[in-house]
């Protein structure tokens, strides 16, 4: 009897051990990585040299290559290429960058994810609005683990956390670079830089000639009209998104003033051309570079382009840059704010666990100080890690101090998952206003009426 008990006890103990072993071996490969070791995440990725997390080798064993989509040709992204190369040196995992044309990039990403294909491990995204939509579709692998250190957020500009947090409270993305806008102007035409939008409107009206428009802004490409509208609304301390109802609000007092000013510039002052309806953000910046506009709000990174006489033949050194205007003199200085945008990466949910581990490792590296440094210094993009601006090399980039200030004051609002459709509705109605199909404020109200149909009911 005793013998039998001993045999049963051994059997049960074996069963328990076996169960534990089974559970342990059932652990997903990416869960074997301890992101907070050998140092807490913020120290590991925040120093001049990136430190690999503990357990990465076991987690990624057997992974030779990951495939990562990239916005456009690689010749325009030397920092991304250099970072991918460095990652390969560190880990031995090759990064195949897929140079996809920008126009169909979202369509390609949707096709792959909807087909549950494993063809691509990591996808790039150009805006939190797009990223949120992919997260809502349930196509992305959660990245909560790599952000599991409260201090890690301190490395980045304050809006980053909000931009990366999906509506379900989880994080599915990481950062490559960030963007905001500044006011570029030509000192020979605009001797005193406008501090406020009210001044800017007046200045634009005065300096417009048959050869040069006072101010240009984008209203033609996807999401483009949102750029100036957001800048003007934030400059009054307003916001565009009603988070509670997941509703975009443009008929707020701030929105009305912004809408009216943009329409007036084209229709009343004639200081901006009707062809703003054709401009993407790049088109508006082209107008400035070609010497056809006295002022433009454009991305901070455009400073690199404007200083190059070959890429900006119309201005040849006749340009300067200033902080985004606040609305009027009554507004506090904190409202010298533009929008904050994130270009980042997200991981395909359908790839195997080892590839997920490798992809997470790549994203961990790409958000590091080291990778951010290359983005700023090699390529002239904004650095996601703010401390990069304090390095000696960063002081030599064009408009360094202004860029850092602009980044620290920028505002990010994540749009609802239907954000891209909603911004199309705004673009449509702005088009009606400028082409005279509707009166400006009538177009605004009609637009809001349609936007409200997409909101969560009260």
């Amino acid at each position: 009897m005793k013998k039998a008990r001993i045999v049963v006890s051994f059997f049960l103990a074996g069963l328990v051990v076996g169960l534990f072993v089974g559970i342990a071996s059932g652990e997903a490969a990416y869960e074997k990585i301890n992101w907070n070791a050998p140092k807490p995440i913020h120290e590991r990725i925040g120093g001049p040299e990136y430190i690999l997390p503990q357990g990465w080798k076991e987690a990624t064993a057997g992974v030779k290559k990951i495939r990562v989509s990239n916005f456009g040709a690689l010749k325009h992204d030397p920092a991304t290429v250099a970072n991918a190369k460095k990652f390969t040196e560190l880990t031995g995992i090759k990064v195949e960058l897929l140079a996809w044309a920008e126009a169909p990039i979202v369509a390609k990403t949707i096709s792959i994810l909807a087909a549950r294909s494993k063809a691509v491990d990591v996808f790039c995204y150009d805006h939190p609005t797009t990223y949120t939509q992919f997260a809502a579709a349930g196509w992305l692998h959660s990245l909560d683990a790599i952000w599991n250190d409260p201090d890690v957020w301190k490395l980045y500009a304050p809006p980053t956390k909000e931009g990366l947090t999906a509506p379900d409270g989880h994080i599915y993305g990481s950062i490559g670079q960030v963007k905001t806008m500044m006011l570029y102007y030509r000192p020979s035409i605009v001797p005193t830089v406008p501090e406020t939008w009210v001044d800017l409107q007046e200045t634009a009206r005065k300096v417009t000639t048959s050869a040069v428009w006072g101010f240009v802004f984008p209203a033609g490409g996807e999401m483009d009209i949102i750029y100036p509208l957001r800048d003007m609304i934030y400059s009054q301390g307003g916001r565009l998104v009603d988070k509670k109802r997941q509703r975009i609000v443009i008929n707020s007092p701030e929105g009305r003033r912004a809408w009216k000013m943009l329409c007036d510039m084209v229709l009343v002052d004639k200081s901006a051309p009707a062809s703003v309806l054709e401009y993407s953000w790049m088109g508006a910046s082209d107008m400035f570079a070609m010497g056809k506009a006295a002022m433009v709000m454009s991305h901070t990174v455009d400073a690199n382009r404007f200083q190059d006489p070959v890429k900006a033949p119309g201005i040849k050194g006749d340009w300067d840059v200033a902080a985004p205007p606040k609305w009027d003199d009554a507004m506090p200085d904190e409202y010298h704010a533009s929008y904050f945008d994130i270009d980042g990466y997200m991981i395909n949910k359908y790839i195997d666990d080892k590839h997920k581990a490798a992809a997470m490792l790549f994203l961990d590296f790409m958000r590091s100080f080291e990778a951010s440094y290359r983005e700023l210094i090699i390529e002239g993009n904004e650095a996601a890690v703010l401390a990069v601006y304090d390095t000696p090399a960063a002081k030599k980039i064009p408009a360094a101090e202004g860029r850092k200030i602009a980044m620290s004051k920028a505002v990010l609002e994540t749009f609802p998952p239907a954000g891209r459709t909603l911004t199309d509705i705004i673009k449509e109605h702005f088009g009606y206003a400028v082409t005279g199909k509707m009166k400006p404020m009538e177009a605004l109200e009609k637009c809001q009426e349609i936007l409200d149909q997409y909101a969560v009911p009260e």
């Binding site: 070609m290 673009k427 088009g431 400028v434």
Partner: protein, 286 residues
Amino acid sequence: MKISNSKYGFLLNLPGFMIVILWVFFPAILLIYTSFLRYDNIHPIIFSGFANYSRLFKDRLFWQSLNRIAIFCPGTTTLTFFGGLVLALCLSRIRKGKALLRTLMILPWAVPAVVSGIIWKWMFSPDFGVISDLLMKIGIIDKPLNMYSTSSLAMVGIIVADSWTRIPFMGIILLAALVGIPQELYEAAKVDGAGAAQRFFYISLPLIKGPALVGLLITTMFSFRTIDIIIPLTGGGPGRATYVIGYYIWDQIVKSFNFGVAAAGGIMLLLMIIGITSVFIYFMRR
């Protein structure tokens, strides 16, 4: 083992049948099936009957897109036909440098529609465009032409740009038909005192009718699904002035992630194309 001629013929055609089944029938059935699903990539996928169609018919943008395609499709088909006809008539008369000119003629066809869109956008640009500049220099207009930011002109602009890529195709079809007409017919007509116009209307036109209808049919079908040239040119704007049904379907997939409604839109497009095709086939058989 001996097999009959009909079985042998069937075997030879089998690979072709398989391709048609795999690339035409299977996607079409999948499209029909998807159009009856609630497939919006937010909720679980379930059978939803005609809900997608109901939503489609209630959507103002769907009706707007039908309205725009009703202008775009005849516009681009007409311009393509007459452009192709003029090109074919000219090239059928040219003897010197015939091969070179015919090669040059097909170049626009080889240009991807997206690239063509960008080219036309630059040419019509009011700020840097050669067309506005030229028209101003010769005194036809006194200020730059806002082609793609004026509602009424934007549609004309996309019709011109789209036709430019399709004219060579139509030209080739008509040229092949024209050069196939026996010269004796023209000579006999000349002897009978027929002028150039009479020779064209009574000899050329009736004899190229068949190939012309085929060209028109293909151009019409292609123009229904055009979006690749519209995206870089106008993005469907200004307002929704150039927002055709293909663009609507694209938006449902790429912006709304709503595959169910997109599939329902695709079915409507398919039905429209079948309707138009039937009309063409009726005339071709007469």
